[in-house]
């Protein structure tokens, strides 16, 4: 996308920016844009003169049973209503399925700073049907040690696994590759 000043931004870009202020309730340092779950922001045709156009936001869930989606939907509506858009339609699409590959580099850096190890590598669920995979070392977000151990692959939320660092002894969350 070409570089634009705030003055020359299109209404669509402004609407995207509004949507991009919404954060994941479970990982408040990450916006929906950082996570890559914000897929599209569309302004629909004006039917009444003088009112802001209706907005259609498309998001894609991280996990099928992720309860944060409800909160994100509410927050998106609130964010737009605060900016004067009265009608907001949040649409959820399953396809293409979300993958951690869509997470922005800035988002990964913020995650690490927040104390959650960002996903490393790419999902191979569909590409590779072999037996059991060798898992790569996950770096401790506190002391950067690679001497870490998985305590449980299913952690505090669907998207995270619980690790412990064997050097600094601190437990930490790891954002699983999906």
């Amino acid at each position: 996308m070409p570089e634009t000043d705030s003055a020359t931004r299109t209404p669509e870009q402004n609407a995207w920016d509004i949507a991009a202020t919404v954060c994941d309730p479970e990982i408040p340092v990450l916006t929906v844009a950082d996570l890559g779950i914000l897929r599209n922001v569309e302004l629909l045709e004006d039917n009444d003169a003088g009112t802001a156009p209706a907005v259609r936001v498309t998001i894609t869930p991280t996990y099928s049973g992720c309860p944060a989606m409800d909160a994100i939907r509410d927050d998106l509506k609130t964010a737009f209503q605060r900016e004067g858009y009265p009608s907001v339609d949040v649409e959820l699409v399953l396809s293409p399925a979300w993958t951690t590959d869509w997470m922005s580099e800035a988002g990964k850096a913020k995650l690490e700073q927040y104390g959650i190890a960002p996903p490393s590598g790419h999902s191979n669920a569909v590409r590779h049907a072999g037996p059991i995979r060798l898992s790569l070392a996950v770096k401790c977000p506190q002391c950067s040690s690679l001497n870490t151990k998985e305590l449980t692959r299913f952690g505090s939320t669907s998207c995270k696994a619980l690790y412990v660092c064997q050097d600094c002894k601190e437990p930490f969350d790891y954002f699983k590759v999906l």
């Binding site: 996990y63 099928s64 949040v90 959820l92 399953l94 037996p131 449980t152 692959r153 299913f154 952690g155």
Partner: protein, 314 residues
Amino acid sequence: MSTAPETEETKETKETEETAGHGDLSVGVKAASGSGEATASATRITPGNALRPEDIALAVRRGTAKPSEDVAEFALRLGDDALILAQRLGHWISRAPELEEDIALGNIALDQLGHARSFLSYAGGLDGRSEDDLAYFRREPEFRSVEIFEIPNGDFAVTIARQFVVSYYQYELYRRLTGSTDATLAGIAAKAVKEVDYHRDHSAQWVLRLALGTDESREKMIHGFKVIWPYVDELFRDDELTARLAGSGAAVEPSSLRADFDRLTGAVLAEAELEVPNVQPAPGGGRKGLHSEHLGYLLAEMQVLAREYPGASW
């Protein structure tokens, strides 16, 4: 989602904000007590507020037709499988051998419930029934899940044996359904297959750990597979419906998954120094609504609240 409920909801939001001035929270309270939308889900906070699999199904098939009768029946089968498994796994929360396992099995149950909601919403799209109508207000003979999902949890090793079998089965099934000619089935499967991959790993790790652990854990793992294996065959049985769906490219014949299932589970069993139990397959009639005596008890527990308080919301 049509524009009509959206407008209504926006109006509701405004009204509440003016009168109560509490922002979002009061919206939820007011809307929940105020309106009784026919398809309201028992698990959502306010009508039109939570993101429902109905919305998913509607959104995914926006502009296209409803599921065909065959596809709806197929989605019902997969939805019921996942729903019953989610209910069974949820029972482990607070009962697993360690806290991490409570969480792991709870997480897996949540994934399964997510799949069930998507499949059931889509299945209900045929005749306008909601996921809750299908989950809470159908009787036992109307469920289409196969027997392996409803058999009791047993001890931890029995549950792990079942998880091992069903996650390898679901993985193969969803992997193929990603290529379905039915876009919604393909979308749900593409989402689910990546999650089931983690379930597969989880159960395989436990099979290895238990089978290669102490004498007692090995005995229990062997016993677990002996309990579970009679129900494996039913997962891979073809019938007229799957034949028609395979013909149209919307689904695959379950029997065509068997070779890969056997190869992949066989590899793990060999590593765990276990043999495939030599047992007679159970007759099984879940796809026709003929269930074991266990499903009734499970449904009674799962459905009691929704039936006692129809339209309850929390």
